[in-house]
């Protein structure tokens, strides 16, 4: 479980995160959504320690991450996996070497044990035949899957995904969403996904935090989001007429009515 308490972050005069508090539970896909510039990426970077918050606390299973010494942080970070927006694969290494890297660095496994584990996770993300390819030789969707494989190879307790669907076609986006959701449930990880993809919100949003201008504007699940009265949230989520229609359809479905409004 990850708990955020009254987190604040500014860059100069600009307040980017303003007193955000939330609890992210294990076994759930926790989504941080919001428009570009709403502070969701900064919030995620504060959670993983890439930015130091100006105030507040981040607790990993009750342990205060913000107050930890470097050595303690290093230890905790071995339980964190992260999928980056651009996948952040090491260009000079093959797919298998990328996935094996955390095992090389942090375990004393033999070469055959490592390769067994690498093949297991690559199989889990449906990428068994890409072992020897370099990142430049595979598609965007495959890179994301390699990124997920590298993130989960050490069996982390916490998984962070920064814009996992950016630059992907809708079908591949669904595959990635499904994969993130499945590994979250399978390994009971505390997963935090930073996205503005509405498919992800509706499909895997067990717990959603909507950020607006650095503040937490709304919190709930994908079931609750269609009933939200927050104008800012509705303007963001159901921005187009098509999405408004989808919202109405979902509401009717939930009430047991057909598209014509009749029961």
């Amino acid at each position: 479980m990850i708990e955020i308490r009254d987190l604040k972050k500014s860059f100069g005069e600009k307040v980017v995160i303003n007193s955000v508090s939330a609890v992210m539970e294990p076994g759930k896909a926790n989504l941080i959504i919001g428009a570009s510039g709403s502070g969701k990426t900064v919030l995620m970077k504060c959670l993983v320690g890439l930015f130091e918050p100006d105030g507040g606390e981040v607790l990993y299973d009750g342990k205060n991450f913000t107050a930890m010494e470097d050595d303690e942080r290093k230890e905790l970070r071995q339980q964190i996996g992260m999928l980056f927006q651009g996948s952040a694969l090491f260009d000079s290494q093959t797919v298998a070497q990328n996935v094996k890297f955390p095992l090389d660095m942090f375990t004393r496994m033999t070469y055959s044990e490592k390769m067994k584990r690498v093949n297991e996770v690559l199989e889990r993300v449906n990428l068994k035949d890409a072992n020897k390819k370099f990142p430049a030789e595979i598609s965007g969707g495959m890179k994301k899957r390699v990124g997920i494989a590298r993130a989960i190879v050490l069996n982390p307790k916490y998984l962070f995904c920064d814009e996992p669907n950016s630059g992907l076609d809708p079908q591949t986006s669904l595959v990635i969403d499904k994969l993130i959701y499945e590994v979250t449930k399978e390994f009971n990880m505390t997963t935090i996904v930073n996205t503005h993809d509405m498919n992800s919100v509706m499909e895997i949003g067990d717990h959603i935090i909507y950020m607006h201008q650095g503040e937490k504007e709304w919190e709930g699940s994908n079931k609750q989001i269609i009933y939200s009265k927050s104008k800012k949230l509705n303007d963001f989520i159901f921005a187009s007429e098509f999405l408004q229609d989808v919202k109405e359809m979902r509401m009717l479905e939930a009430e047991g009515r057909g598209p014509d409004g009749k029961k």
Binding site: V48, G49, L50, D70, R73, K74, E75, L76, R77, Q78, I80, M82, F84, Q85, G86, A88, L89, F90, D91, P102, D104, M105, F106, F160
Partner: protein, 245 residues
Amino acid sequence: MNFFNHFGRYILMIKGMFTRPENWRMYWKELMHQCSDIGIGSLGIVMIVALFIGAVSTLQTAYQLVSNLIPKSTIAQIVRDTVILEFAPTITCIVLAGVVGSKIASELGNMRVSEQIDALEIMGINTKAYLVMPKILASLIMIPLLVIIAGVLGIWGGRLAGTLSGILSPEEFDGGLLSGFLPFNVAFALYKSYTFAFIISSIPAYFGYFVQGGALEIGKASTTAVVTSCIMILFADYVLAALLL
């Protein structure tokens, strides 16, 4: 103000490299990889530059020594001392600032921009220690070796050019080489090469590591790194000559 800001961050980067490695074997592997990249990767250009500089030194020294009162073996003495004292360490390192420096800056800059450095940080790896330290150590190991090779090849190039152009015989050249030789000059060349090796690796590493933006900024960082390294090499060259000679 900008200079102090850069200098402060540079010192903090150097200080940040000194932590216990997460895994010695991986650091060793990275060091060997960098030694191969920096040493073997630059060997060709260093050999070509050294050979031609030595050859040109012989021809130009002979052109300036027109008096019959000066023995021809003096040409070899002048070539030997200029190659050992200046050409082998300084010219080689200026060439290496372009070859190695731009490679280090663009490699780290690309890793920064594509979030590979963030990925390593999140894994709990000290990226200054894992990415910067091996590059500096590899430079400190390989660049003095390249300078020695450049010195030997420079003198040999000078001998070859002198013989082929008929300016002086190989025996005359060898006689000049051995006359009045000061072993301290070789030590001085090595002091220089260690200093320049640190400059060539640490300054581009700094500019690459802290790059912000995209491809354009990586290019700018690479150029700034090479220009700054070259200026610092020339400055250090003067300081070392003033202090040690």
